[in-house]
Amino acid sequence: MFFLLIISGLSPQSVVANDRPNDAGGCVIITWDSVSDTSIDGYIVLRQTLPDTTFKRVGFTGRLKNEFEDNSAVDSERYVYRIATKKGEMYYYSPPSNVIHSSPQFFHTGRLNTLIAVIIFTFLLVYFVRRAKKGENLFIRKISGIDAVDEAIGRATEMGRPILYVPGLGDIDFPSTIASMNILGEVAKKVAMYDIPLIAVNCYPVVFTVAREIVHEAFLNQGKIEKYKDDYVRYLTESQFGYAGAINGIILRERPATCFFIGPFFAESLLMAETGNQIGAVQIAGTDQVLQLPFFVTACDYTLLGEEVYAASAYLSREPILLGSLKAQDFGKFLVLLILVFLTVLSFFNLNLLSFLKVE
């Protein structure tokens, strides 16, 4: 009797098979109650494809796990699973699970919260852009870093020295690189207007091609295309410190009057900003990489903090529609903060709804 009890104790119980939710099909999740014996080797997962009668091994998992994902499932087949506890050379089998078949889903329910957020935010954006279009005056706080752009360009004009524009170490899939390209467009317009040499240096080829187009178009739109030089936008290297080294060389040799460091920056930020500081250039930096902000604040005259980088293009162009979008951004942030505070307060009363914010 005692022997039998030990055997049943080692057989996994409550074996349940479910289709993995929110996937492209081809996967079944099997769960079971772990056995209490900690000296077992692990669990073997066995599968029966109906109408076959035999169970075949599909996987093995360590003793700490009581879940297995069978990624070899075929959507058109129906399966039954059993789990066998392996201890040395002995196997202890569970009863069979429910019949299951895997299937793909058409909507990812784990991402419903983000969909709702995107829809609300899009509505906010459209609403504020419409208000701005109607000519409503929307208050935008002063951003001194962006206000200094004109001053910095003016200084370069007076000194007859170039402007250096560094869009950072991000490829085009970085949102802040795109924001930086938007700012480059505005800076290039002013550069074309005042006829100052520009050096825009890039580390990713795609960013280089986009930057070149932007600067070219800016000159075209200002009616100064004859002043545009291919040399204004340069490709350097993808190597992080090779890029920083090349920029330091450009700063020391060509001695720009103004340096813009706007975009995603990493460990190389201080190397470039300190070199610019050494030659006494006016420096305007901006990044969404929180960690690099202290370095820029230390070595640059003005620093755009995080989201200010995204606001800069709208602020510089003074386009009412773009300013409207900034308002939507602020309102969205306020809404999220309200939700967070509300859910946090609820969690003090043991009502934990914060998990609704989790994105799968």
Partner: protein, 207 residues
């Protein structure tokens, strides 16, 4: 037309990519996979343009006999040499390419990164001054964090590592999250503005 076509492509592809994020079906996954492969292929074409620009810039510098033309010459020779060595002798583990990489590029890169220590020391010396209350708080926290993360910190006082860890985990993280919220909204807004054609500076027109 020159502006409308890119805006239209941006709108269609942007919306499709947003939609596919919410659909786990194999058709949607396949579409995502195709788009990602296209990105890789397009990047390769852009690289050709990038290298073309690098070569033409440095050749024109050499032709104009500028004072710093020697740097351009070194760049062009190094680039060509590395490409040739890789193409002719391969890039396997014991190849000449790997030897040059490990024995020249590695120390050069390490040297550049090491310079950061020098710049940090001089920047810290210049910036950490007790000019006002905020600067003093910043200085005090910097001291605690530096000592706490140094092995010697725990010998000065066993609480140093814990306080340093707390500063990193609580006040530092709180401020980071504040900025990250703004950044997240900024990037969502930028993406939406570009997809919806509200932001057009990236086309160079600004209108």
């Amino acid at each position: 037309m020159k502006q409308r076509l890119p805006l239209f492509i941006c709108l269609v592809v942007g919306l499709l990519m947003v939609i596919q994020f919410y659909i786990p079906h194999p058709v949607s996954v396949g579409f995502n996979s195709i788009i990602n492969k296209w990105v890789v292929i397009l990047s390769a074409f852009a690289l050709v343009l990038g290298i073309g620009n690098l070569v033409s810039h440095h050749i024109s510098k050499i032709k104009k006999a500028k004072a710093d033309r020697w740097y351009s010459l070194v760049t062009l020779i190094s680039m060509t040499l590395m490409a040739l060595v890789g193409l002719v002798f391969g890039i396997g583990p014991d190849s000449l390419y790997q030897k040059i990489f490990l024995n020249i590029l590695t120390p050069l890169g390490a040297t550049m990164f090491a310079l950061l220590a020098y710049y940090m020391a001089s920047a810290a010396y210049r910036a950490f001054r007790v000019r006002n209350i905020e600067a003093s708080i910043l200085l005090a926290s910097a001291f605690v964090v530096m000592l706490g993360f140094m092995p010697i910190g725990q010998f000065l006082h066993p609480y140093f590592p814990q306080v340093a860890e707390w500063i990193m985990r609580v006040p530092n993280m709180a401020s980071q999250r504040g900025i990250l919220f703004g950044v997240a909204f900024g990037s969502i807004a930028t993406a939406l503005k570009i997809i919806l054609g509200i932001e057009r500076s990236w086309l160079g027109s600004g209108k």
